[in-house]
Structure formats: structure tokens, C-alpha cells
């Protein structure tokens, strides 16, 4: 690439990283603010707990600050910086109900959510994209089918959908387990039996996630592909009698892929939003479940810790989608 292109691309890369850092700082500040806004002051509760165990006041104060991840009795700026430092070092405070540092609980919970979100999102994105491209060339009944299903799924909250699936598959057909990430009699480990059991348990939650977002992707890709089909370069491609497959994927598809990637940017937020419901309904111990349990039992540090991790995941997701967008569209890189 010409020297000028390299400069522009690196400027663009630096800009994207800067945006991510700004977003991270913003997210951490929000959670810092939330902790202080909580009615019951977590730091106080931990301090009292330590004092009851007979630890002298001075030492207890320091330990409480370390455990809680923030120190309310210094001026706000120092406390904020301290909190920021702790977060970067993984100290998100101490969970009262689990009696363990928040980061450890989240470390065990996060994989479940990420597994669910990643698998269902990639599946929905891929199938939605392919079906959307295919549907773009068809009219009539396909229109009605897609519009109908889209508004149906748009008007159903994820937990209601979960209930419906539980009733159908769990209660009536009894073919899929309706709760828990794996059955109790199976020992967790990297064995085929365990993996198979986990997959059986995750079937319904995955289906719920998938049905919540799949119609959106089909509809989005289809309307995009239809508008691109009217562009001149598609007509010229047909005029050059390029093979149908090439036109559909490289000409229409590739140009449709770009805006869909930006749509991917904002669907992360939605996904993590519904994780709270789906994981709670199916009792999958993911981030959403931990957040719901935490807020239910007023364990603020755990709640806000998991909330912060969710935002960080969303920010990283956005960054990845932003980078792939730049790699595909030369104009964004400023070439």
C-alpha cells in the first residue's frame, strides 16, 4: 500500500483504540458512581463484619477498603482513582452472599454467558445473513412470512419466549432439561459425557437466545440486500453475465455485510440485556444470573461487578466489529 495509505490506516487504528479506552473509563466511572448511590453502603457492612471478628479498627478499615475495592473515607478523586486501579487489577470487591471476591464468581459465571451469547449470535448472524440474501431475491409469500415472524418475535419478551419453550419442550414433550447448566450426577471435567450433558442443558436457552434475535438479522439483511440490488453496479455485474453466486455474495453480499456489522455493534447490548432473563429462567449460572441474584439479595458489589463486566464485554465486542468493518471497507481506513 502507498505510504499515505499506511499513515491513514494507522491514524484510524489509533483513533479506534482511543475510543475504546474512553469508553472503558466511562463504564468504570458509572459503576463507581453506582456503588456510592447504593442505599446500604457495602464498605460499612464489610467493616462491621471484620470488627465482629475482633480485628482492630485501624487494620479492619484497611482490609475493608481492600476487600470492597474502594475506600470511601478519602476524597472522591483519590477514591475514584483507587477504584480504577483496583478494577484494572481485577479487584471488584467482595461478595457477601458467596463470601468470595467478586472477580472469582464472575470468572466462573462469565464463560457460560459468553458461550451462550457467542454461539447464538454467530448462528443467528450467519443464518440471518444467508437467509436474508436468499429472501431478497424472492417476493410474495416470503415477504409475509418474514414480516409476520419478525413482528411476532419483536413483541415477545425473552423470558416469555423461554416460558413457552419450557412448556412445549420441557413440560409437554419432556425432551430437554429445563434448568441448570449440567445435571448434578455428572462430574464437571473435560469428558465427553460432561460436554454432551452440558450441550443438552444449553439447548433450550440457546434456542431462546437464537429466536429472540434471528428474525431481526433476516429482516435487516433482506431490506439491505434489496436496496443494494437496485444499485448500478449490480445491474452492470448482471450485464457482464457474472455467475449468479458471485453477484449474490461478492457484489450484493459484501456490501450488505458492512452495515450488518455495525448492527452487530449494538446487538451486544441487547444480548446481554436478555441474558439476565434467559439465564435466570433456565438457572444457567452466567453473568445475567449472577446479576439477578446479586441485585435480588442486595449484594451490591456483586451486582455492579457483573454489570461492569457486561459493559466491558460490549465495548470489546464493538471494537472487534469496528476493526473488521475497517478491514473490509477501504474508505473507512481512509485509503
Amino acid at each position: 500500500m502507498a505510504r499515505r495509505d499506511i499513515i491513514n490506516t494507522s491514524i484510524w487504528a489509533v483513533k479506534s483504540v482511543a475510543v475504546v479506552i474512553a469508553e472503558l473509563i466511562f463504564a468504570i466511572s458509572i459503576s463507581f458512581f453506582l456503588i456510592h448511590a447504593m442505599p446500604g453502603n457495602p464498605y460499612q457492612i464489610i467493616l462491621v463484619g471484620l470488627l465482629q471478628r475482633g480485628i482492630p479498627y485501624e487494620q479492619a478499615k484497611i482490609m475493608a477498603a481492600a476487600l470492597a475495592g474502594y475506600n470511601p473515607n478519602v476524597n472522591p478523586i483519590v477514591s475514584w482513582a483507587g477504584y480504577m486501579w483496583n478494577v484494572f487489577h481485577g479487584n471488584l470487591g467482595y461478595s457477601l452472599i458467596y463470601r468470595a471476591p467478586v472477580i472469582k464468581i464472575i470468572a466462573t459465571a462469565a464463560p457460560w454467558t459468553i458461550l451462550l451469547v457467542a454461539v447464538s449470535l454467530t448462528l443467528a448472524f450467519a443464518t440471518g445473513y444467508i437467509l436474508g440474501l436468499y429472501a431478497a431475491s424472492k417476493t410474495g409469500i416470503v415477504d409475509a412470512l418474514i414480516n409476520g415472524s419478525l413482528s411476532f418475535f419483536q413483541s415477545i419478551p425473552s423470558y416469555v419466549l423461554a416460558l413457552i419453550l419450557i412448556i412445549i419442550f420441557g413440560v409437554l414433550l419432556k425432551i430437554a432439561p429445563i434448568a441448570g447448566a449440567y445435571s448434578s450426577n455428572v462430574t464437571p471435567g473435560f469428558t465427553a459425557k460432561f460436554i454432551l450433558d452440558v450441550m443438552r442443558h444449553l439447548a433450550l436457552p440457546l434456542l431462546t437466545y437464537y429466536l429472540v434475535i434471528f428474525p431481526g438479522w433476516v429482516f435487516g439483511t433482506r431490506s439491505l440486500a434489496i436496496s443494494i440490488t437496485h444499485e448500478d453496479f449490480v445491474l452492470v455485474a448482471k450485464a457482464r453475465s457474472l455467475p449468479e453466486k458471485r453477484i449474490t455474495f461478492t457484489y450484493i453480499g459484501k456490501n450488505a455485510l458492512l452495515p450488518q456489522l455495525t448492527a452487530l455493534l449494538y446487538s451486544y447490548g441487547l444480548m446481554f440485556g436478555s441474558s439476565i432473563f434467559i439465564e435466570s429462567t433456565f438457572a444457567i449460572p452466567g453473568l445475567g444470573y449472577v446479576l439477578a441474584i446479586g441485585s435480588g439479595s442486595r449484594d451490591y458489589l456483586l451486582t455492579i461487578g457483573s454489570f461492569l463486566i457486561i459493559i466491558i464485554a460490549v465495548i470489546l465486542g464493538n471494537f472487534i466489529a469496528d476493526v473488521t468493518y475497517g478491514l473490509i471497507d477501504p474508505r473507512v481506513r481512509g485509503v
Binding site: V19, A22, E23, F26, A27, I30, L34, A37, M38, P39, N147, S151, F152, Q154, S155, I156, P157, Y159, V160, L163, I164, I166, I167, V171, Y266, G269, L270, F272, G273, S274, I276, F277, S280, T281, L291, A292, S295, G296, R298, T303, I304, F307, I310, I311, V314, I315, N318
Partner: protein, 321 residues
């Protein structure tokens, strides 16, 4: 029209004209299948919610443990036509008062969301320059936060099921999406030649925004207002379903949550009936709102309005002959 028209007549003209425009809008709404369903359902739901006080409030005096989760019957009185909930209170009353409760949340959230979103979106789109870049960055920043998770945490802080508070929180949290689409619409409208022409003709920014930019963004506002009502339903039911706000039987989420978590009633045939009824009703109502939102876009399109006016005029001429 030679002599200047007296004030009275002008007001009457204005009202007649408004009613005519309203009638044209209704015709456009009901021109498509989706539009008919959406408009009909929305009007019915709003009317029912407003008329809720005519029905008895499903308070504790109705609760009767003996009639817990009974299937629909007319036995004790017609109110029990849809059966009862966990406390034995007739489901029909829960539903009607529930409608009012959710609409209250949705409308309050909608008003706040639309006012903040429109104001900031217009400010960013119309003013441009540094303010635009700063505000746009803020919008994208807010969009990275999953609104429902934050709403859940704030609900815990306030720990109350009061619709005004829930509506207020939802409104404050979810205006970023609308602000971004209004900014885009305002930006595209602003660069059109007719806005430049208005500026040349000495029109101040206020009248330019009112006459040239607002018509282009009104469809977004109406659409988002409707979707925020749907959001209100989602959120409030969800909070109750997870048991994070104090139990109140008019919140359908609470009933469903109860049937699912506490009573495991969902597994006994009698328990599933109220849950299924609630699911069906809630789906129909929300689909109504979504159809209404989708159909509302065409109401503001001058082409559609002209087509309908021509059709009405020709029908009027036909009946007149």
C-alpha cells in the same frame, strides 16, 4: 376571502382542518392489514386502560386462597371468566388494571425519552461542529450500556413498583437510540437546499427547525414513542418476573414469575392456564403496538396523504351525485 376573517371563524376553520387531517391519518393507518390490526388494538387497549376505574380494583378483598389458580369459570361471578391468579383474584381484573399500570410506565418513559432524545438529537444534528461531535460520542457511549441491566440496578436502589418511578428511570436510560436517529435525520435535512433557502429568506433557526426539520423527524418520534411503551411492558413485567420489585398482582410478570418459581404451577395442568392466558394476551397487545409503530411511518408521507385526499374527494363527489 377578501375581508379579514373574524377570530371565531378562524378558530373553527383550524379545528375543522385538524379533524380532516386526523381523518386522513386514520384512513392511511387502516389502509394496510398490519395498520388496521395495529390501530384497532392500540385504540382498544388505551380505551380499556382509561376505563379501568369502572372495574373493581383487584385488591386484597378479592383474594381467596380456596380459588387459587382455578380455571376460567362463571361460578361465583362473571369476573372469574379468565380464572384466577396465585392469590385467587380474578385474572380479568388483574389484566385490565395491569394494562393501566404498564401504559402509565410506558407513556411516562416515552415522554421523557422523546423530549430528551429529540432535543439533544436536534441540537447535535442542527448545530453541528464540535457540539455535534461531542454529543454523538456521548450517544454511542450510552448505547454501549445494556439499558435493562442498569434499569434493574436502579430499580433495586429505589426498590418500588411505583409506575411513575419505573417510567422515569426507563425514560432517563433509553433516549440515546432515538437521539442518534434524530441527529442523522436532522443532519440529512439540514444539508438540503431548502433549508439554505429558508436561512437566506431571513427565517430564524427556530422557524427553520419547526418548518423544515421537524416534519422529517416526526415519524422517528412517533415510532420511538410507541416502542418505548412496548419497552415499558417488557421491563416492568421482567422486573416483577424476577421478583426484583415488590409483588403486586396487577403486574402480570409477578403472576407468571410466581407460577414459575414458587408454585412450579407451570408443571401442573391447572397452573399453566393463567400463564398461557397472560402470554397470549400480552403478545397480542404488544404486537398491536409494534404494528401501530410500523404503520405510523406512512401517516406523515405527503404522497400518501395526497392519494387519500384524492380518493376521499372522488368518493364525496360520487355520493353527492
Amino acid at each position: 376571502m377578501g375581508v379579514s376573517v373574524p377570530l371565531g371563524r378562524r378558530v373553527v376553520n383550524r379545528v375543522v382542518d385538524f379533524l380532516h387531517q386526523l381523518y386522513v391519518s386514520i384512513v392511511i393507518f387502516t389502509s394496510t392489514g398490519q395498520g388496521k390490526a395495529g390501530f384497532g388494538l392500540t385504540v382498544f387497549v388505551v380505551a380499556l386502560a382509561l376505563a379501568a376505574p369502572l372495574f373493581p380494583y383487584p385488591g386484597p378483598k378479592w383474594s381467596n386462597v380456596a380459588l387459587q389458580f382455578i380455571p376460567p369459570t362463571l361460578k361465583p361471578s362473571p369476573w372469574y371468566i379468565l380464572g384466577t391468579d396465585y392469590l385467587g383474584i380474578p385474572l380479568l381484573l388483574d389484566i385490565i388494571w395491569g394494562l393501566r399500570y404498564f401504559l402509565e410506565i410506558g407513556v411516562i418513559a416515552g415522554i421523557i425519552q422523546v423530549s430528551i432524545g429529540t432535543f439533544l438529537g436536534l441540537l447535535a444534528g442542527y448545530v453541528g461542529g464540535f457540539t455535534d461531535r461531542a454529543l454523538n460520542f456521548a450517544f454511542n457511549l450510552l448505547l454501549t450500556i445494556p439499558t435493562f441491566a442498569l434499569w434493574l440496578i436502579l430499580a433495586v436502589i429505589f426498590r418500588s413498583g411505583n409506575p411513575v418511578i419505573l417510567g422515569f428511570i426507563l425514560g432517563i436510560l433509553s433516549w440515546a437510540g432515538l437521539a442518534r436517529s434524530i441527529r442523522a435525520a436532522a443532519l440529512s435535512a439540514k444539508n438540503r437546499d431548502y433549508v439554505e433557502a429558508s436561512r437566506l429568506l431571513g427565517l430564524n433557526s427556530l422557524s427553520i427547525i419547526a418548518n423544515d426539520i421537524m416534519p422529517a423527524i416526526t415519524p422517528y418520534i412517533v415510532m420511538n414513542f410507541m416502542l418505548s411503551i412496548v419497552g415499558g411492558f417488557y421491563g416492568a413485567m421482567g422486573l416483577a418476573f424476577l421478583g426484583l420489585i415488590p409483588y403486586s398482582n396487577i403486574n402480570w410478570g409477578a403472576i407468571m414469575g410466581n407460577a414459575f418459581y414458587q408454585e412450579a404451577a407451570i408443571f401442573s395442568p391447572t397452573g399453566t392456564i393463567p400463564v398461557v392466558i397472560l402470554i397470549v394476551i400480552q403478545t397480542i397487545i404488544l404486537m398491536g403496538f409494534v404494528y401501530f409503530a410500523n404503520a405510523s411511518v406512512y401517516v406523515f408521507d405527503p404522497k400518501r396523504r395526497r392519494e387519500v385526499e384524492i380518493k376521499l374527494a372522488s368518493r364525496r363527489r360520487a355520493t353527492a351525485r
